[in-house]
């Protein structure tokens, strides 16, 4: 972010500039200290912002690490199109960890039934890819304001040989002195956006002109209601009795597996309108749109312990 002339005499950074500087510091620290870092990139807004920050961190040099997408196979096509285009623009290397491949190889068993989701089984191909590529640091776009288990996670989050997170045994993290030391086979998850909120992300997207997939903006879509959420009609979901598809004007606040990511009713088709809507919303983004977090109070914590994002 450019520092505007009016703030210069006081040597103050506005909050987005401070958050940006913190994230760039974290990203550079990883590039300097790890042998094989990788950045998760799903095409969602948080990972788009994280990738944008990584590009800024090393400019004018190219990104010094590859990006990785854990592909459930249940994607919004607009998001995959955006992912591939961004990767090509940057000349980056894309690693795809495929859930479908893991299912086909018999490594995971897919849930069955109309509410089946591939969300939880993503952990297996993720950990396999980390192991087979020898990645020792994995950047994730998770934010502490998203979810209460994430609120307790370190910026540098240690994972053991099994990729597990032990919330009761985290390394103390002081000042900006990050400890990435680990043994072979262990790795560190790194969260440069830890201190960002959903509103910060949108304000930054607007200030920096970060490109996002079109599904974040209001558009007409064929949807049906389940558990109080608008789910998109897709080849991967079967309607239950009483569920009816209708066309509504919606947008997505988060982007994940198409079978468990809900849309919200919204006419916000511009960044300004989205920022306004985000500033006054009374429901968290995961509460509004993620079936995977509704499993239990500790849904996220349990998945994270297993090695989830």
């Amino acid at each position: 972010m450019s520092t505007s002339a009016s703030t210069q005499p006081y040597y103050e950074l506005a909050h987005l500039q401070a958050l940006e500087a913190e994230a760039i510091h974290i990203i550079r620290e990883v590039a300097a200290e790890f042998e094989r870092p990788v950045m998760l990139f799903s095409g969602g807004k948080d990972s788009a912002v994280m990738l944008h920050l990584a590009v800024k961190a090393f400019a004018p040099a190219r990104l010094p690490f590859p990006v990785m997408h854990v592909d459930t196979g249940h994607n919004f096509p607009e998001v995959i199109e955006f992912r591939d285009r961004r990767v090509a623009e940057l000349g980056a290397r894309l690693v795809v960890a495929s859930v479908q491949d893991a299912i086909d190889a018999g490594k995971v068993v897919e849930e069955t039934g109309p509410r089946a989701s591939r969300n939880r089984i993503q952990t297996v191909p993720l950990l396999e890819a980390i192991e087979s590529h020898g990645f020792d640091a994995v950047f994730g776009g998770a934010r502490r304001d998203e979810e209460k288990a994430r609120a307790k996670e370190r910026v540098f989050s240690f994972r053991d040989d099994f990729g597990q997170w032990d919330p009761k045994n985290q390394r103390p993290e002081l000042w900006n002195l990050y400890n990435g030391r680990h043994r072979k086979g262990e790795h560190i998850r790194v969260f440069p956006l830890s201190n960002w909120t959903e509103l910060d992300i949108w304000q930054y997207v607007a200030a920096e002109g970060v490109e996002l997939p079109p599904i974040y903006f209001a558009h007409p879509r064929r949807v049906f209601q389940r558990d109080g959420m608008w789910l998109a009609e897709s080849p991967w979901v079967t309607l239950l009795d009483g569920e009816e598809v209708e066309e509504r004007t919606v947008r997505f606040r988060t982007v994940g597996d198409a079978t468990c990511t809900g849309a919200i009713d919204s006419a916000a088709s511009t960044l300004a309108a989205i920022i306004e809507e985000t500033a006054v919303t009374r429901i968290t983004e995961r509460g509004a749109t993620r079936a995977d977090d509704r499993i239990s109070e500790a849904g996220m914590e349990d998945r994270k312990r297993e090695g989830y994002f």
Partner: protein, 423 residues
Amino acid sequence: MELLRFATAGSVDDGKSTLIGRLLYDSKAIFEDQLEAVERTSLARGDAYTDLALLTDGLRAEREQGITIDVAYRYFATPKRKFIIADTPGHIQYTRNMVTGASTADLALVLVDARKGVLEQSRRHAFLATLLGIPHLVVCVNKMDLVGWSQERFEEIRSEFRSFAMRLDVHDLSFIPISALHGDNVVERSANMGWYEGTPLLHHLEETHIASDRNLIDARFPVQYVVRPQDQVNHDLHDYRGYAGTVAGGVLKPGDEVVVLPSGLTTTIAAIDSADGPVAEAFAPMAVTIRLADDVDVSRGDMICRVRNRPHVGQDLEAMLCWLTQEGDLRAGAKFGIKHTTRWGRALVKDLQYRLDINTLHRDEGAGTLALNEIGRVSLRTTVPLFFDEYRRNRATGSFILVDEATNNTVGAGIITGPTGVA
């Protein structure tokens, strides 16, 4: 809009969770689905009231046992500022947690129960906040409703706290009488305490002047990463060599005459790049890339500073050390990995001079160990020279962590008081 990071210290008994809950709720940072989840859990657990601590206690073990295990970070914003709260638990591992939360804070909130007055715990919190160099300390005298909104009681607590604080290095100390439960002087001015002439807490948080807290005098730039594009396509970039890092102090400008440590070579700053193009000056905590006029050898862990304003350079230093692990006590003679700015080395603890009782500030010179949550004064010798300042002058160049070389855990947090052998 400016960012203010503050740490809260206190226990459930002090009404800390209620206060944070009130700040979040009144600034609309608590969402309906979060509140509903808290109400459901409270009801299921048989609480007599909606326990707002559940908003921050995110882990299963915390909710089941009704305790806070770890520092929780919470976020809210008003039209004037964005706030990051590091909420540190009051009882369990208070020192380890508070030191962690306080290390990046601009301001500390210390809660005092108006009925109980200044307890050992209040003194402890105030001491740790000042040890960690937090420039602003706000003492909230809470539960004023339970002492009949008494000005006399408030003044009594204020003068007791002040006389204790005189022994500490406190730059800015404020007192606010509040009732977190009823909201008095939290967001809105209290109608029950007309005698209080100050501002409510939120207004205080919005207005506290933090821009002058950073060190803008001593230019310090620890080199984090060397940017060399080596671009096959764009040959203009072939000779580009930039030193990326986060400014740790002072103001740097193109044309400044600088010295690179440890080589001692001098050169000038040719340009300072940000990803948005060249900048006219860089100051803490901006993340930038510096280009130098001469082709000098610079790598990660080096420090760029002004020729006539250099940090201490040396392998022997004195520090206050906070011990963070229960996996073994600290003893003189132990060796660790040390991380200071962007520089790693090894450190030998040559001497534990005393252990500090953080309740009484008494120095126990006979202590041979530091256990988890204990603080003491140590002398260190490092394998590589460090480029450091006194912590009270610069938090970024005055701090370090110690890492156990067998487990790789972070086991110690150090606050540099100066080089060894200088009074």
